[in-house]
Symmetry: C2
Subunit: 643 residues, 2 copies
C-alpha cells in the first residue's frame, strides 16, 4: 500500500449531499467530483451544489466557490472547473474555508515523466515506473490515484514516457500499445488531464520505404500524417506529443541541415487537424565539446539555435525551455530565450526530480527557487517594462501566446511514499499549485502542503515549514559555489566531485586554477551576458552589478575578490560550506522534535534520510573546501579544519 | 569463427608419423599430443617419437626434445610432459629448431577468470564469458581450443568463476552444476590443466541449520567437509578452490574475530584428503576509509593483516598476493609480503586483464613490467643475499615452499580475437611462458609470440616488437606520474581523472595541493617503507635513494623537487606526458607500415584501436598536465600548450 499524500481524507461515505442539475450525469468528471466529495470525511452531512454557469471569466478550468457551513456552492463554466472546484473545496475545508474565485494562470500545466517501458526511470529517485512494466503500459488503482493527485493540484497534461525514446517506447504509438494508451487517456481525461507521448523523431528512418527523417521530404510528413490519423482515430483525447531532437545523441532535423522549426512544423502540421499540440524541447547543445575549446559556451546554445527562428514555428507548436541555460543546477540565470521570441509559443521546464539537487535523499524544497525564476523581470518591452517577468511570458500575458505554460520533470515512482523522500512530495504539490497560481508564495504553498499532509498540529507546521524553507538555500550553500554548478559526480549526478565535469565533453567547466575560477561570460569572454535584454545585459556584464549568487556563473574571478560582505571569495566559499552543513544539522534537530507528532513509519523514513543528508552535506562541505584549500593553501580565517 | 592465436598451424593431416610405446594408448593427454602433431602442417611427413623416461630431473611436467629433421624425439617422465613437449616441438619448428630440455620453474601457473555465471565478466574487455551463459556452464569447441591454448604455453590451473562469488555462482558447487563441472575438469585435465573454482566463504550462512561462517564453529567445518566430499566424489580431478574473504564487501573470518589463517585452514582441512589446494587471496584492506584520515595507509594492509600469521597456514594453503601493495597499477613497488613469510606458501597474482592499463583498447605489453617485479631482490636472507628475488620466492626456491607459483587475472572473452585487442594476446602468451620460465626476456617472449602469430616476416617482427616494447613505458608516461597511481576515472578505471579517487573511500590518495604531491610513506609518514627488509627499507626511506619511477609512491614532494635528470618534478611530469603521446604516435606509424603484411581484418582491428589510443593518450596527456598546471600555474619550459 502506498501513502495518500495530501489526499488523505477518505471515508467510505461522508453522507454529503451533492446537488447537480443532472443528477444522473454520465460525465466522468462530474462523477469523479461527486466521488471525491462523497469520500471526504470533512464533508460529513454537508451540502455541495455543483453548478455550470455561463461566466466566461472562469474560462475552461476556473471555478467560484462560496457558501457557509453546511452548504457550499461550486460554480464553473465546465465540468473540469467543477471537478477542480470539488478538490479545491476539500482543501479549503481543511485549511480554513473562504470564498474563492480562481482561474489557472497557465494554459499548460504539465509533468514530464522520464519513464522507460522496461520499468526503469531515467533520473528517477523513487523506485520504478508505475506506468510501465516489462514493456507494457499498466493501468491500475495507483494510476487512478495518481490522476486524482494531479487533478487536485491542477496539473492538466502528462507525458508518460521518457523524452529519450528508445527500445519498446519507439513502438508505443503502434497498434499493439494503443488500446492501453486509449484507456489511460480516458482515465486521465476524466480527471481533466491530457495524455501526451514522447516521440522518436527518427521513426521514419526505420521505415524501409523512407529511411530518412528529413522534415522537407514529403514522404516523411506524409508518414506522420498517416501515423497521427491512426493514433487519433484510436485515441481521440490525446493531448499531443513531446519531442527531444538533435540533443544528447537524439536524432533531429540538423542531420538534414534543416532548422529546428522545419523539424517541428513538419510534425505540427500533421497533428493540426486533430487539435494536437507539439511540444518541442530547446535543450539542444553540442555534447561532444572538447574541454580545451575555450570559445564554445554551452550556456549560449539554446539561444543561438532558437532565437532567430522566432515566428517560424506553427501555432500548435510550443517550445519547452529549461528554466536556465545549462541543466537544472541548484542555481542558474534564467534562460535568455524567455521574452525574446514574441511570436513563438513558449513553456518553461522545471525539474522536480531532484537530479542535481539531492536526488530525493536530501530535502530540497524547490518552490522558492522556481519563484525566483518566475519573478525575474526580462524587460521584454523596454528597459523599464514591468510586465514581462518570466511568469508573464510563460503564462502568455506578455506576448499573447496561444499555447504556453509550465512543465516539470516528475519526481514520482513506485515507492510506497511516491517520491522517495516524503518531503519531496512538497515539490510535486508545489509545482502544481504554482503552475495554477504563480502568485502564491513558497511559504503559503509549504504551509498548505504540510497541513494537508500532516494535519493542523502547529509544531509540525512550524518545524516542517522551517525545514522546507531552509532546504534549498542550505543545499546551495554546500554545493558548488556562487552559481558555478557542476561540481558533481559525473553521470550519477550525486555527491561532490569538483573536477568531475572539468575534462569532459559536456561543456560545463569552471576552469579553477590556483588563482582564479570561472569562465568569463561577458563581452570580453563568451558574450553570453550580452544575450539578455537591457538592463539585464549590463547588470550581468560587470562583476560589481552581477547578483552575487550568480557571480561565478558570469565571471572569472580571483579567490581574493572581495564580495559585498567584505569577505574574500575563498572565505565566502569556506563559510557557506560550513553553514550549509550546520543548516542541515538544524533541520535534523527541528525534525526530531516532531517524534510522536507524525506517523511513526513516515517519521522514521524521513529521519533516516535526514541522517544521510547530514553525513553527506559534511562530505560536500569537506570535499569542496578541501578542493579550494589544496588549490590555494589559503587557510580558513576562523581556523576550521580543512583537509 | 574466432582467431587461432599462436596455434595457427592447422592442416587436416600433416602425415606425421608418431611413435609411442603404446600406439593404442587411451591416455587423453597422449591422444591430444598426437592430435596436435597430426594437425600441424609444419610436421609434414616427419617422425616424432614420444617416450616416457625415468629421468626424475624432468619432474612431472618437463620434457627433453632432440633430434634432427625429419625425426624428433620428445622424452618426458609423464604424459603431461609429452603433451607439453608436443606443443613445444611445434613452436620450435616454427621458431627454429634446437634441442631443449625444459622443466617449469613454478609449480602453479594459473589463470583467474573473473567470469560471472550470467555471462558478464568483471573487468572483462573482450566480450562476454565463454564459460558461462544464462547461468549455465557451457562447453564447446571454443572451450577445447582454449584448453589447447593454455596447454601450449604451460598454464596448468584455471579458476573459471569470479572471485566475487555471487548469485548463481554460489550454487556452482551444487549438484545441478557438477555434471558440467566434471566434464570441464576432464576436458581441462586432458590438457594438463587443473580446474579450480572460486568459493563463497559465507556459504554456510545460508544453511538454515548453521547461519554462521565462524571458522571455529565445528558445524561450519563439518559442512564444508561434507560439501567437498560430495564435490570430489563427482569431480575427482578438481584442483581446489580460490577464496576472496574479508575484502571489498566479501564476508570472511574477520566477521567472527578470527584470523585469516583460521578461516583458510578450516577450508583447507576439509579439502586435504582430496589433495585439493586452497588458494587464499591476500587482497584484504579497509575499503570504507575516510579520505580525511591521514594515518591509515592502504598500502600497509595486506602486510599488516598477514605477515604475523607466518607458519599458521596449513600446507595445502597458498596465499595469492597481488604483485604490488595496491591494485594492479601501471607501477607499484613489490608487495612487502613476498619473502617475509618463510613458512607460508606464496603465489604472486598479476593481472593481464588490462583493468588499469588501457583495458585492451590501448596496447600495453605487460611482460617487461612483470619481469621487473620478478627480478626484484627482496634480500630475504640478509642484506647481501641474491637468491631471494620475487621469482625465487614464488618458485619456491628461496624457502622451499610446497606449493607456490604465479597466477594472472585472465584477459580473454568471447570476442573473435579472444582478447579484444589483437596485441593483448601477447600478454596471455607471455604470462604463460614467463610462469614456465621466468628467465625468458620480455623481448624473447614478444619475438616468439609475434612469429607464432604473424609468421616470420622480418618487418612485422621488428615493428610489432618495437610497438610492444614501447607500449608499457608509453602508457606509464601518459598515466599518473612517478608511481603515484589512481588518477583514473572511478569504477570504470578507464581514462584520466586526476582527483577521481581523491575524496573517496578506497584509500588511494595523492593529496596534491598547489605546492606538493604525495603521501609520505617513510618513517615520518605511514612507515610503509620500513616494512621492507634491508637494504630496501633504507632505499625507500629517502627520496634520494628511492628509484625515481616510484618516487611519488613513497614520498610527498614539492613540484620544485629536482630529479636526477636535473628537471624539476613538474617539468618531468609535463615532459613525460608529451613523450607518452608521442610514443603512441610512433607506435601507430610503426604499425601502419605493416599494411598488407598481416591479414587485413586483423590489421584493421588493430589500427582502429591504435587510433583510439592515440586520441586517448593525448587526452591523458592534456588532462594530467592541465591538472598540474592549474594547481601551480608553472609554465612548461618548452612553452608547449597547457590548458
Amino acid at each position: 500500500m502506498y501513502t495518500k499524500l495530501w489526499l488523505d481524507y477518505e471515508t467510505n461515505d461522508s453522507g454529503v449531499r451533492v446537488l447537480f442539475d443532472d443528477p444522473f450525469s454520465e460525465d466522468r468528471k462530474i462523477q469523479n467530483a461527486v466521488k471525491e466529495l462523497k469520500h471526504c470525511r470533512f464533508l460529513k452531512d454537508k451540502t455541495v451544489c455543483l453548478r455550470i454557469t455561463r461566466d466566461e471569466s472562469l474560462g475552461e478550468e476556473g471555478y467560484h466557490i462560496y457558501g457557509n457551513d453546511p452548504e457550499y456552492t461550486i460554480e464553473a463554466a465546465s465540468e473540469t472547473g467543477l471537478l477542480y472546484g470539488a478538490f479545491r473545496l476539500i482543501s479549503l475545508l481543511r485549511l480554513g474555508f473562504r470564498e474563492v474565485c480562481e482561474v489557472p494562470e497557465n494554459r499548460l500545466r504539465m509533468l514530464n515523466h522520464w519513464d522507460n517501458m522496461d520499468g526503469t526511470i531515467e533520473r528517477g529517485y523513487s523506485g520504478n515506473s508505475f506506468f510501465f512494466e516489462n514493456n507494457e503500459l499498466i493501468i491500475n488503482q495507483r494510476t487512478e490515484d495518481y490522476a486524482r493527485c494531479l487533478c487536485s493540484i491542477g496539473i492538466n497534461g502528462v507525458v508518460i514516457n521518457n523524452v529519450n525514446v528508445k527500445d519498446e517506447a519507439c513502438r508505443l504509438i503502434d497498434d499493439r500499445h494503443l488500446i492501453q494508451v486509449k484507456k489511460l487517456s480516458e482515465l486521465f481525461s476524466s480527471y481533466g488531464v491530457k495524455l501526451f507521448l514522447s516521440l522518436n523523431y527518427a521513426a521514419t528512418m526505420e521505415d524501409e520505404r523512407i529511411q530518412s527523417a528529413d522534415p522537407l521530404d514529403p514522404r516523411v510528413g506524409l508518414w506522420w500524417e498517416r501515423k497521427f490519423d491512426e493514433i487519433y482515430e484510436k485515441v481521440p483525447e490525446l493531448g499531443g506529443f513531446l519531442v527531444k531532437a538533435d540533443s544528447e545523441g537524439r536524432p533531429g532535423p540538423f542531420t538534414y541541415e534543416r532548422t529546428q522549426a522545419e523539424g517541428a512544423n513538419m510534425l505540427a502540421r500533421a497533428l493540426k487537424k486533430h487539435g494536437g499540440i507539439l511540444v518541442w524541447r530547446c535543450f539542444v547543445y553540442n555534447c561532444q565539446q572538447d574541454w580545451r575549446d575555450l570559445k564554445t559556451d554551452r550556456a549560449r546554445a539554446s539561444y543561438d539555435y532558437f532565437h532567430n527562428l522566432d515566428g517560424c514555428f506553427d501555432d500548435n507548436v510550443v517550445l519547452q525551455i529549461k528554466n536556465g541555460p545549462m541543466d537544472f543546477q541548484v542555481r542558474e540565470p534564467v534562460s535568455p530565450l524567455f521574452g525574446q521570441m514574441p511570436h513563438t509559443n513558449q513553456m518553461i521546464e522545471f525539474q522536480i526530480a531532484q537530479e542535481y539537487t539531492g536526488q530525493q535523499r536530501h530535502v530540497c524544497y524547490l518552490i522558492p527557487w522556481f519563484k525566483e525564476v518566475l519573478e525575474f523581470e526580462i524587460c521584454a518591452k523596454g528597459e523599464n517594462s514591468r510586465d514581462s517577468k518570466v511568469k508573464d511570458v510563460v503564462s502568455g500575458k506578455t506576448f499573447d501566446y496561444k499555447i504556453s505554460g509550465m512543465c516539470a520533470v516528475a519526481n514520482t515512482g513506485s515507492d510506497e511514499n511516491w517520491t522517495g523522500h516524503d518531503l519531496a512530495a512538497a515539490n510535486l504539490y508545489g509545482f502544481g499549485r504554482l503552475a495554477f497560481d504563480p502568485e502564491l508564495s513558497a511559504e503559503e504553498i509549504a504551509s498548505e502542503w504540510i497541513r494537508l499532509t500532516y494535519g493542523n498540529n502547529e509544531k509540525v507546521l512550524q518545524n516542517i515549514q522551517k525545514i522546507l524553507m531552509m532546504s534549498w538555500p542550505a543545499y546551495e550553500k554546500y554545493n558548488a559555489p556562487l552559481g558555478i554548478g557542476w561540481m558533481v559526480t559525473p553521470s550519477v549526478h550525486y555527491g561532490p566531485d569538483p573536477d568531475g565535469y572539468e575534462y569532459s565533453k559536456w561543456g560545463t567547466y569552471h576552469k579553477a586554477d590556483c588563482r582564479a575560477i570561472g569562465v568569463e561570460r561577458n563581452a570580453s569572454g563568451t558574450g553570453y551576458a550580452g544575450l539578455y535584454l537591457e538592463p539585464n545585459a549590463s547588470m550581468y556584464e560587470n562583476p560589481e552589478t552581477t547578483p552575487e549568487e550568480l557571480l561565478l556563473f558570469f565571471h572569472r574571478l580571483p579567490y581574493s575578490y572581495v564580495l559585498k560582505s567584505g569577505k574574500t571569495l575563498i572565505q565566502h566559499i569556506y563559510d557557506t560550506h560550513f553553514e550549509g552543513a550546520e543548516d542541515v544539522e538544524r533541520m535534523t534537530e527541528l525534525f526530531r522534535e516532531l517524534r510522536g507528532l507524525i506517523e511513526e513509519k513516515a517519521f522514521d523514513r524521513i529521519e533516516k534520510r535526514l541522517e544521510h543528508q547530514l553525513w553527506h552535506s559534511k562530505e560536500w562541505r569537506d570535499v569542496i573546501n578541501s578542493y579550494f584549500y589544496r588549490k590555494t593553501l589559503i587557510e580558513d580565517e576562523k581556523g576550521r579544519k580543512l583537509y
